[in-house]
Amino acid sequence: MPKINSPVELEDFRKTILSRKDPHKPCVAICAGAACQAIGNDELIRAFEEEIKKRSLEHQVDLRATGCHGFCEKGPHVVLYPEEIAYLEVRPKDVPEIVSQTVLGKKVIDRLVYTDPGTGERAVHLSEIPFYRKQKRLLLGDNTRIDPKRIEDYLALGGYSALAKALFEMTPQQVLEEIKKADLRGRGGGGFPAGLKWETTRNAPGDEKYVIVNAHEGEPGAYMDRAIFTGNPHLVLEGLILGAYAIGAHQGFIYTRHDSLRLRDHIDRALEQAREYGFLGEHILGSDFTFHVEVHLDVGIFVSGESSALMRSIEGKNPEPRPKYIRTSVSGVWNRPSNLNNVETWANVPQIIRKGSDWYSGIGTERSKGTKMISLSGHIVNTGVVEVPFGTTLREIVYDIGGGIPHGKKLKALHFGGAMGGSIPESLIDTPLDFDALSRAGAPLGAGALLVMDEDTNMVEAVRFFLEFLTNESCGKCVPCREGIRQLLKILARIRDGKGKKTDIALLEEIAEVMGAASLCALGKTACDPLKSSLRYFREEYEAKLQP
């Protein structure tokens, strides 16, 4: 495939791809996301392949192993195009029936479609399922339509048009301004305005600058970055190239987990194809812009997702964070200005350039624009990855989309931010999804992993296991974090076992205050957030366990 050397060639190529596609041709899209893969959908894919071969339908039916469809609870998940019929909990033995009845016979198999547990109503098409109806899947929506291993699928949906527009119709400064105007805030947990970070990096002294994708996603309970990166790697890549152009960086790094083989495979292929077609490398699309990308793997440590630790790791050293007297956007990898953003943040960029910042800032709340991917887990009926506009209330997310609490239990608390986040009680469930509103309530959004806890959850124990996780992940460099967490664990274990002393709660608060002020990095500083929020809202649980 010869390189694409101009926007015109790109559009021509796109037209060629579209002309080759038959919109009426049946296509079976099978979710190959992490959870579906774990319950054996590789077998399912093979079963479909065999059935299609058996009936000699290779030219009549397309088969596509896609990224995560989002409805993990009901996996394995199959979507049949062009009708967009969604089949849930599909097993290999259902395959022959699906092929003959639905693919060929165009008849719906009732037992495989979604049935509302309350009303018994069936929903045949993907968009009718309540789980999907309430979402606004700007980022994830294309997952079912794309084979992550084929760049043509991405191009068919308009991929890389934003890049062409930016490279030939906009200056780097203009691209930067659009992102600033759109008020895109970082999706990795910090919520820092991306445009400002880009600007700092751009204006920092030095000719060599870097852009980095943080695909580490170490937060337990967070799996949406993997969903978008495995399912639509080019979306993230396009965002990265746009950012590099705006900032003036010519080298990019993708830092990802070593244990997701499929993700690594998809990233490698995406990079290879992007280079082949001319979206990466010298003179991208025939412009003056050059950009290369390297992939680096983590070593299985949570702290290596922290921006300065990550940069140390890219340099080949131990992932140890450093205090940020000087921002990493000014001095990062090898002391050069490095702009690090989360996968989801980069994924938002192409649509902002393509459709404009005015359109983007029309979605969401006053200071939280756009949509957010949330991974639902814990005591909730519909576990999965959802995407909603900011401003959606937590009630809608938990009940309308999430399906509520299983086994008829009552909701007790919602926890954001994993081990470094906070819990809010059921009484605050009408809080809108918003960076600042949630921060004020004591449960900052973090990366967007929403852990739902029902009435039987012991909040003291919950805080204890978050701290246990952190104590294993602490790098050990500074005393407040290393020793502080250790002592907190001892005290909490004592309280949990009913041997708490009267002075223990004050002691916990004091340690938390010192840790927050004196730790070198965010791990130590925010390790006590679950503790603080649980003391704020669930203090009675602690007090009940103290000795009189």
Binding site: D259, G300, G316, S375, S377, G378, A462, F469
Partner: protein
């Protein structure tokens, strides 16, 4: 009866007592000046009291009757009392019978334990000096301390654990053994043995052969490390891996690629033999201390081979909320091992942690990469039995 004269009972070294018993003595008697009456004001007899109380605990631990060691306050001037006390002690020893046989101990086993104790004496002296010296100046306070919970804790954490290591090292020096055999001979649980072997691996003291499930000492007395392999026939298969050699050749002389090299090798071999770490240090031109620093700090890297099956209980936040701790406890009860430990038959290694992002399947157990979704404690046994 052999008499040894000292200027002060404070001169008594822990090693004297152990050596006496190693030489086959049936009893050790210590006579010192009365507490509080020291003419020289250094009051060394209190130190002796501490050493004797510690020694009694040690002897008791290896099965020797602590009454074989006796401390009496009788000065050189008190001839009559000396005779009385020694006669009484001799009578007692006759009742107790010969050393070892009187307690029903196996002769070789006792010698083995005493030698392990002797090897540990320098370390124990340090512990005694730094952590077990009491600032009290009365006998009753000494006795109280040595019978307290705090002493017990210190004794277990600081001394008994190291004694177990010393015993295991002594065993490894004799010849290659399996975890199950070590457990049988020393009486320590496979869980304990596995934990200690891991600690030994971190210090580079053991050599593992995952194919034969054997462990041997890394250093033979008088032999070069490489000869040790030949003498004992214990060698890790991992050292002959072609891919490992290729990885090393690729990164030869590049210290900055250390972590990545270790990652690649870990994912290829699933553990890092010490001999390989030596090789990495040489090829990449990185000091061994730095290689060990990284290999021992990150949990991704394992320094001992795993059992045939890796049982991984996810303890990420979502699985925890759904009851992962109960699962972990159940697995622990069924297999008798804690996390990062391998059982006696080297069949199962238990790991925890590391959310893989399949939260919908929680709480889950992942065995050899295969996910077992939504496991309840009552189903754990069946899941484990399904592994051969």
């Amino acid at each position: 009866m052999k008499i040894i004269r000292l200027m002060c009972t404070g001169r008594i070294d822990l090693g004297f007592i152990v050596r006496a018993f190693l030489n086959g003595t049936d009893g050790v008697f210590i006579g010192g000046c009365r507490p509080g009456e020291c003419h020289y004001l250094t009051e060394g007899n209190y130190l002796a009291l501490g050493i004797v109380l510690l020694s009694k605990k040690l002897l008791g631990h290896i099965g020797v009757n602590p009454e074989r060691l006796r401390l009496e306050w009788v000065s050189a001037a008190e001839g009559t009392r000396f005779a009385e006390v020694v006669n009484d002690f001799t009578k007692k020893l006759k009742e107790l019978g010969p050393l070892g046989k009187g307690e029903g101990l196996d002769e070789k086993g006792l010698k083995f334990n005493l030698e392990a104790l002797q090897a540990l004496v320098p370390y124990m002296k340090l512990v005694e000096r730094e952590r077990l010296r009491v600032p009290f100046k009365s006998e009753s306070e000494y006795h109280q301390f040595f019978n307290s919970e705090e002493f017990d804790r210190l004794f277990h954490e600081l001394i008994l654990d190291k004694l177990a290591m010393s015993r295991i090292m002594a065993l490894l020096r004799q010849g290659p053994v399996s975890i199950g055999e070590i457990s049988r001979i020393t009486g320590l649980s496979p869980s304990n043995v596995s934990r200690i072997l891991y600690l030994l691996a971190r210090q580079g003291l053991g050599r593992f052969d995952e194919r034969q499930n054997l462990v041997a000492a890394a250093y033979e007395e008088g032999a070069a490390p490489e000869d040790g392999e030949r003498i004992r026939g214990v060698r890790s298969d991992a050292l002959d891996n072609e891919r490992v050699d290729r990885i090393l050749a690729e990164h030869q002389g590049k210290p900055s690629s250390l972590i990545h090299v270790l990652m690649e090798i870990q994912s290829e071999l699933h553990w890092l033999p010490k001999e390989l770490l030596d090789r990495i240090s040489r090829k990449l031109d990185v000091p061994l201390s730095r290689v060990m620093q990284i290999a021992s700090f990150y949990k991704t890297f394992r320094l001992t081979p795993k059992g045939r099956h890796e049982v991984h209980v996810c303890t990420g936040a979502s699985c925890q909320v759904r009851g992962a701790s109960h699962l972990l406890d159940t697995v622990h009860d069924l297999l008798g091992i804690a996390t990062e430990e391998t059982d006696g038959d080297s069949k199962f290694t238990l790991m925890k942690g590391n959310c893989l992002g399949c939260c919908t399947l929680g709480p889950e157990i992942i065995i050899d990469g295969k996910h077992h979704p939504r496991v309840t404690p009552d189903r754990v046994e069946a899941v484990l039995k399904s592994c051969e």
